[in-house]
Symmetry: C4
Subunit: 188 residues, 4 copies
């Protein structure tokens, strides 16, 4: 998509949500595959936070040409797609169906590590995948486990973004590419 | 296949079964891949139920141009194919062989969720896959577990369809496509 | 390979083994992919048994144009290839490395089923795969478990073939294709 | 890459490390895919050891045209790539995300076998894969387990190479290809 197409696509999505009375504050790129201008457009259209980039396990500020977004980093390991997606032809996913308890193990072990290291646990769910009887019970078990930890708080993405913005020490990053060292790459 | 070919294929199958003294009441599309006219043909040829569509976890009525079928929804997660299919070249399945206890875990966890949410558990079996000594013992363990639950009943597809038809509140659906909203997609 | 090539290949293999003082009684087709004439050649060259066909879990007699072989059926589920083969490019196997205890679970569960149903457990091993420290310990655990069962006997392929030949009730099969029913397929 | 390109690539890497104050003693080929001249170049540029070849589970001496290297053999089964790599398009890895406890099981079972058989355990880590909260805790558990064994020593690659060189019985190998037996392959 060129810029006009990406802009039209974003506007069409906002219109569809508006007709349902929804004004979104956060965004996630489909398949976690943003273009070079996605984040500029998000800031321009008033989004507060994004959850697409996997380069951290805590929130940070993302500078764009149209202002600053809060980034709430997701990760493949906290996603129900690679746990439950199954299609044989054209093949998608691992080619088999795992028990729900296996996804619970993946997510709970990451939650344990994140508690120790003080991180933000961002779970990505697809309703047509997690919305099966055995799987939704595994999700319930995860939520009950998290609630039982005591110090784990469950908040919305918008609330996580607000708290991040209130933190004066939040790291600040941009998407500028790194220049190669001319002493090592003289021709670049 | 065009309509004539699909019709001839269905008639050939019915003839082969008739010569064995079998008159089927239910149908499942090969690889769960029906054509747009499969369900019309099933109703025309007097089938009572189908078990091909994965959009629910309880029975519903499926309207066709030739009458109404009962749909008994299957699902990838209740299928021995993705648990046990193995071919290296051309590759089919996950590329490895899992222990039978793993399929038992997948199916038992889904059965547990379905008991809680009151669903229909439809298991799909391929005799050349499940019919190995270790696997058939896992299937036996699943059946014994289900029988031991107390409230789980084991019935044939035909009996499940009869009970569904006797339910006055059974949802009713058709396969008509959803029209796009012209306010959002003006050119469609 | 045409017949001459397959014959030359077999003779070259026999010569290489003869120079090591080995005269093989059994054969397994590479990748379990025989040609239509492989079994005729095996009988002609004096082999006693083959272990290539996966259509049973007990020995049977296989009729060929050059005499009768004993078939000792192997199976994907009793093979270390799909448990341990790993190559990323060109991809081979499941694309990940499993713990040795997982192969032990696959093989032990099949052994348990085979004890119940009175079958022949034929394990296929590739030395470059199973010959790793952790894996060979899993194999040791399987052998120790089998020995501890009491009624499980460990014998060579040649001994299993001799016992099968001594059984007057051993099933007898050939590889002739099944003819289609002309009432159902009139044009075939 | 031809020899000039491989040489330039190696020099560029050494220069980049030198500017950080690092003079490497060991080398591992990217993706464990060396060229026919990689080991000659390593000896020529003064490397002490390599860790690329998977044909043993103990150190050995590798003869090259420019001198002798110590080989510290790695293996797919002691690598975080096949445990944690995930990309859906273009697909890389097994197509799903495993729990960290699964990698711990793979590595610990190999460590157990290696203790019994007296081997060198060489773990390959990619920081962007193992550097997730739940995974680094699994790595910590592995290290703590190894330390608790008593007789397991944790040393650097350089130290392992020095000890190997001090062993007068260390096997010595070269990469010369095996010639086919002319009695079996008369035309080769």
């Amino acid at each position: 998509m060129d810029e006009a197409a990406e802009r039209a696509d974003l506007e069409r999505g906002l219109l569809a949500l508006e007709r349902q009375g929804v004004r979104p504050e956060g965004y996630r790129a489909p398949s976690w595959e943003p273009s070079r201008r996605t984040f500029d457009l998000l800031a321009e259209y008033g989004f507060v936070y994004d959850s697409t980039l996997m380069d951290d396990d805590r929130p940070y500020l993302l500078e764009t040409r149209a202002g600053t977004l809060v980034e709430l980093p997701p990760h493949w390991s906290l996603d129900d797609w690679n746990q439950f997606m199954y299609l044989s032809e054209p093949r998608s996913g691992p080619g088999t169906v795992y028990p729900p308890s296996r996804a619970l193990a993946v997510w709970r072990e990451e939650l344990e590590g994140m508690r120790r290291h003080g991180c933000l646990f961002v779970l990505t769910m697809h309703p047509f995948l997690i919305g099966r009887p055995g799987r939704v019970e595994a999700l319930r078990a995860l939520v009950e486990y998290a609630l039982g930890c005591g110090e784990v708080e469950l908040v919305t993405g918008a609330e996580a973004a607000r708290r991040a913005l209130a933190d004066p020490d939040l790291p600040r990053r941009s998407l500028r590419p790194v220049e190669p060292d001319p002493a090592i790459y003289p021709d670049s």
